[in-house]
Subunit: 415 residues, 2 copies
């Protein structure tokens, strides 16, 4: 890792070497002492120029290997993670009254969520540390992406999920052969039990906030957005926020590109939570320390009452001159519908929460209709069919007869 | 379409122009008179060389535009269809005792199935014919892919699905704003009602066997396999068979490449159905005309008792010196599990039916362990979570306590 200078505590600034077994700052402890990976940007540019990246035939996150904290020769899982499509859906754009709206559909990853970007790095780091078992707690997507990526290289997994995790995510875990522990309690309970078990058995820890390398995987979504826009940075990047790691990753990605001289400005970040669980939005808007919240939202992936990476997340939004906002579950369900209808993109509730927030921010005037905006869809709607049906209603049931069909269509005013 | 010579009836050989409104042979009728698109291969090579394709930065089916029956200037839906990953999963390979096994994961398409390849062509042809409404009947995947691709360009859809279609596929349709008609009956009933309604209202017809252009979209999976293997054709391509259109498309793709001089031999095709619904396997093995069958299988996407494209499908398998085989639902469920566990790939039941068949064909000696084999996974497992859970069991439910967890793991012999 000649590109990596080391790790730095985001709390006290202490510098540590990027070495086996170092995950959090020993001075600040595992809760506050979250570490950042620091790079030698001159070295990055020597390893790989922007031009070389543009010509790379590797359409996965590894086209940005010079920005990743992994050894070049560590075996990689075969799943194709990253290089998800960036769409400019004109129907959606028009319906929102905008002129430059892009959707980054990260549901198009191997296990159908953005979390694959972090999990593939976790698996590579586990291989580098010669671990044979990886564990994590997750609201679902981190879990299924870890299980899938680990299965692809034959590493055992233990996954702790809260009892409310939707069936689609549970099904993925089981199919990938994970040891799935459904913790009868909240995400907080699942997180605690996983931490105890990881310590007890010495498993490799994929808990996103604790493991400093995972944000580095997540940041690749920002690198891709920049390249897919020919390095013309958008005014805003809008996305949902749970634990805080993903928005921290997006911020890190743009920062890295800026420091390496590949882009000439930074986008503002807009973080969106659900009203039923928005500790980070409240902390941001009130400019006060965050307080734990209930986890009362259909957007299960971002129902995180005790966020694990609050400091990195808030720092990323503030440094970008961005903003945060909360939306209702009804607005989230409505966003699933209007996104699907106008663009053919199907996001899970947390996946479209950013788009629901964008609507608000446009109405508020915070984001202008002429701004160049990228909204990230973080997970595929097939992961949570129950809520999709709640969002979109039911099919018309018809006996196999044309006469009956004509009647039914007439009743509904369809011609 | 300077690359297209015209259409030819696969039954009587009659030649017809590739023009608006011509779908089936007027002499043979809409059931038997299925048409094939014929190309000028010299013209294709003038439009686009193999080298130019290799250097194309368009990572979608449109990198093969010279092989597609569409006008170059017709607007295209924005969804990124095709260029799905071709994996060489060593864990799976080892568990099957093989040395050269590839998986083409077509669940990694915008609406999570291979059918996107056909639907995007249907939408383009509908735009060329100035249609504002498209309709189809489908076991689910053709439907959701049509609904998604049509939504992306603002075209209205009417979708006829049999009552048994799984919830995931229904949810997709509704989210994409389709008019969904759940026909209380079999696929055959849904197909008939759609045909009547299409005639009654003059909608554009996306029924795969009837519309000659859809197989041309499906064939792109073969073009990609060839390119991803550096034009070194595999010995076998194995996949599931329902209506017969997909395997016909795979056959057509390799034939086109061969005739254009891009590959120097053809792979054998192995078509796999479920024992509960295998009219084409029986016709193939007995060398007799096919007879309608019950639709008694969990693999809903291939539960087609009255196949709509039997002739093209059987011809493709026979011309390739390939074979067909039926597997049980238990074998299909088992394939979901061992594929997921050893490779991190999650296929729906019909999606992994080819892999279940491959296991049989290896045991029979029809396919040798040293053969170079590509198995196509045709759809994502998230589309049918119920069967995934049936395949993989349930999670371990644990109270949030380390002591309880230790007990539970001990009980199960996990350390």
């Amino acid at each position: 890792m000649e590109n990596v200078l080391g790790l730095r505590c985001i709390h006290c600034g202490k510098e540590l070497p990027a070495k086996t077994g170092i995950f959090t700052c020993p001075t600040c402890g595992s809760k506050d002492g979250i570490l950042d990976v620091e790079y030698d940007y001159k070295r990055i540019n020597r390893l790989n120029t922007r031009k070389q990246v543009e010509n790379s035939k590797d359409f996965s996150i590894f086209r940005y290997h010079a920005f990743l904290p992994i050894q070049p020769d560590t075996p990689r899982p075969h799943l194709r993670v990253g290089w998800s499509p960036l769409y400019k859906p004109v129907g959606l754009e028009k319906s929102m009254g905008m002129s430059s709206l892009y959707i980054k559909d990260d549901g198009q990853n191997p296990t159908s969520s953005l979390k694959d970007r972090a999990s593939v790095i976790a698996v590579i780091k586990a291989i580098e540390e010669k671990a044979t078992t990886i564990a994590c707690s997750s609201t679902g997507n981190a879990a299924s992406s870890l299980a899938g990526n680990a299965a692809s290289v034959g590493i055992r997994t233990f996954i702790f999920v809260p009892s409310r995790a939707p069936q689609g995510k549970i099904a993925q875990l089981l199919i990938f052969g994970a040891n799935v522990i459904s913790v009868q309690g909240s995400y907080e309970d699942a997180f605690h039990l996983s931490a105890q078990a990881i310590e007890r058995w010495g498993w490799y820890n994929r808990n996103a906030a604790v493991n400093p390398y995972l944000v580095e995987g997540k940041k690749t979504v920002a690198l891709e957005i920049a390249e897919q826009l020919q390095w013309e940075v958008p005014d805003w990047v809008v996305l949902s926020v749970g634990d805080g790691c993903t928005i921290a990753g997006v911020g890190k990605g743009f920062q890295d590109l800026y420091r390496a001289g590949w882009i000439d400005r930074l986008p503002k970040l807009a973080g969106v939570q659900s009203e039923g669980c928005c500790p980070l939005v409240e902390a941001f808007l009130k400019d006060q320390p965050w307080v734990p919240s209930e986890e009362n939202t259909i957007a299960d992936s971002i129902a995180v009452g005790v966020p694990r990476n609050p400091e990195k997340a808030l720092r990323a939004v503030r440094e970008s001159n961005g903003t945060m906002i909360a939306v209702s579950d009804e607005e989230i369900l409505a966003a699933m519908g209007f996104l699907g209808k106008t663009s053919g993109i199907f996001g899970e509730p947390a996946g479209v929460t950013g788009i629901a927030g964008l609507k608000h921010l446009l109405a508020q005037g915070t984001i202008k209709p002429s701004d160049k905006v990228v909204a990230i869809v973080t997970g595929n709607g097939l992961k949570d069919v129950k809520n999709a049906i709640a969002a979109a209603g039911k099919p018309m049931r018809v006996e196999p007869s044309l006469t009956v069909l004509i009647e039914e269509l007439k009743k509904r005013g369809i011609e």
